[in-house]
Symmetry: C2
Subunit: 129 residues, 2 copies
DNA sequence: GCGATTCAACTACCCGGGTAGTACTATCGA
DNA sequence: TCGATAGTACTACCCGGGTAGTTGAATCGC
């Protein structure tokens, strides 16, 4: 846990495919990332194996092909990685991280507010149905 | 560059010593981190060498000892690393990162506001003198 | 002057992300 | 049936963070 949910660049790209589809074969992932990454199929396969060993995905067999599923949620990964960075840079003080974003990255509070509202409404709608 | 200003855990600890003192020998850094890290002196030396190769510190010689200096500011490192994470997790959308912090890490906006005010006042005082 | 101490240099690991070639096998199509 | 294809398994790199032992040289203290 914790640091084990920290994912590399490629790992996140792969997870995004898995999160979007629920499950996918090596080939599915490879196809999905072909345009943007242009990697060999074996690279995806190797990475998925490493990720399974790490516990962030799992697979079942269908015929002789592997169908991978995420074992960690996007939310959880985001939380872990953001917490990790806050730890590294701000001794775990997340308010300091927000302050840094506002002051040093010119993040517009109005934009944040709009985004949050949008998210709240979306999850509200989801909760109602 | 950009990613080259991304520092590991130990590297940040070392940088903090350098940032605080302006410059320091291997031994200074080792002493400073002894309590918290308890590492061998050669570990610090090796790391500093790697960091110099990476361009984040430099050294000059004094007698036969090396005096290291930071070559990147804390501000710059924070900016790089935060931007990197925003890139990885939110496609570079920093407002989304802030939104995530507020909603998923229970960051208190009042606390952030207080912190920012404090920082603004501190830098104001510094600017005046 | 000489032994003890203090440096840096060099070398050597481990680990994990990232990348991929090759080998082997099951299965599909003609 | 048999060759092509599709899949996984295995193996092998590179790189950089992290950790440290050993070695060789300069210098300090007696």
């Amino acid at each position: 846990m914790g640091s084990s949910e920290t994912l590399g660049k490629l790992q996140i790209s792969i997870m995004r495919v898995l999160w979007a589809r629920g499950e996918a074969t090596v080939n599915d992932v490879h196809q999905a990332l072909l345009e943007s990454h242009g990697l060999a199929p074996t690279t995806i396969a190797t990475m998925l194996k490493k990720m399974e060993h790490k516990g962030v995905v799992s697979h079942r067999t269908h015929g002789r092909k592997f169908i991978y599923q995420p074992q960690v949620s996007e939310r959880s990964v985001k939380r872990s990685m953001v917490a990790e960075l806050a730890q590294r840079l701000f001794f775990g003080d997340k308010a300091a991280l927000v302050s840094h974003l506002l002051d040093e990255h010119e993040v517009d509070p109005d934009e944040v507010a709009a985004l949050r509202k949008q998210i709240a409404e979306a999850s509200g709608r989801k909760g109602e149905q």
